[in-house]
């Protein structure tokens, strides 16, 4: 009975800790991937079906994907193109790398997107910009990123810089 207040305090701490585990795999093989060509979009209620050709390492592939959701048509189609490409590349094999981050935030839901300056993310969570080589900033490995999302029913594209921390995560150091 003497220890019950201590046990209650410990239990409440566990109950309020809101943790989120993020993990993702990415194909780390270096492939030459073209932009989609001959893109055909078929838009219907809450879905966008895309058909296009993609050149990977000199070989052309037909890609077809349907993305369903409640976003605007251009967002649905952009996501359909992205997902179709991801599936094609994942089917091609290669070396996969898996990363995971556990983030605990007491009492508040954890939100990851859109990212804000100071957020911890995984490298593969944010797209690379076209001129995507890494660079040094304050002796850290950094790169430019591009993020696409929908906000207030408007398709947004933002850019920024993420840098690698000592703990394998990346931190958003700037965004515009």
């Amino acid at each position: 009975m003497k220890y019950s207040p201590i046990i209650l305090i410990l239990l409440s701490t566990v109950a309020w800790a809101n943790c989120s585990v993020k993990s993702a795999s990415q194909n780390v093989s270096q492939r030459q991937v073209s932009s989609p060509t001959n893109l055909v979009k078929t838009i219907s209620t809450n879905q966008c079906k895309v058909k296009y050709n993609l050149k990977v390492d000199g070989n052309w592939h037909d890609v077809e994907y349907t993305y369903k959701g409640f976003e605007e048509e251009n967002v649905l189609c952009a996501k359909a193109v992205d997902e179709g490409r991801k599936i094609l590349l994942s089917q091609m094999g290669g070396i996969f790398q898996t990363e995971s981050i556990t983030v605990c935030n007491e009492g508040k839901p954890v939100q990851f997107r859109p990212v804000k300056i100071g957020d911890l993310v995984m490298d593969n969570e944010l797209g690379r910009m076209d001129r995507g080589q890494n660079f040094k900033y304050r002796n850290s490995n950094c790169r430019l990123f591009r993020e696409k999302y929908e906000k207030d029913r408007i398709f947004r594209v933002t850019h920024g810089v993420i840098c690698q921390t000592d703990h394998q995560e990346w931190i958003v150091v700037d965004k515009w």
Partner: protein, 85 residues
């Protein structure tokens, strides 16, 4: 009256490049060069301080968002391209 005119003239025309706010078009055509990084970064950061845009681009209107985007990407260009912070 003469003193006021001189003062206004100095304020309008006597400022050096570090105290001038560039237009969006001027930013787009900004002559970034690694050899001029120090002075150019000082100029761009001065504008950044004066403009004091929100860190969250989603909270900006379209014009400010475009200006802020061009300004920040120009500033980061020196780190990315010239290795200068």
């Amino acid at each position: 009256m003469k003193k006021i005119l001189i003062l206004v003239s100095l304020l309008l025309f006597g400022c050096d490049s570090h105290s001038r706010i560039l237009s969006y078009e001027e930013l787009v055509n900004y002559p970034s060069h690694c050899s001029k990084a120090k002075e150019q970064l000082a100029e761009l950061r001065f504008i950044q301080r004066i403009k004091n845009f929100s860190q969250d681009p989603d909270s900006l209107n379209e014009a400010d968002r475009a200006y802020n985007s061009r300004l920040k990407s120009t500033i980061w260009w020196y780190t990315w391209k010239c290795g200068i912070e």
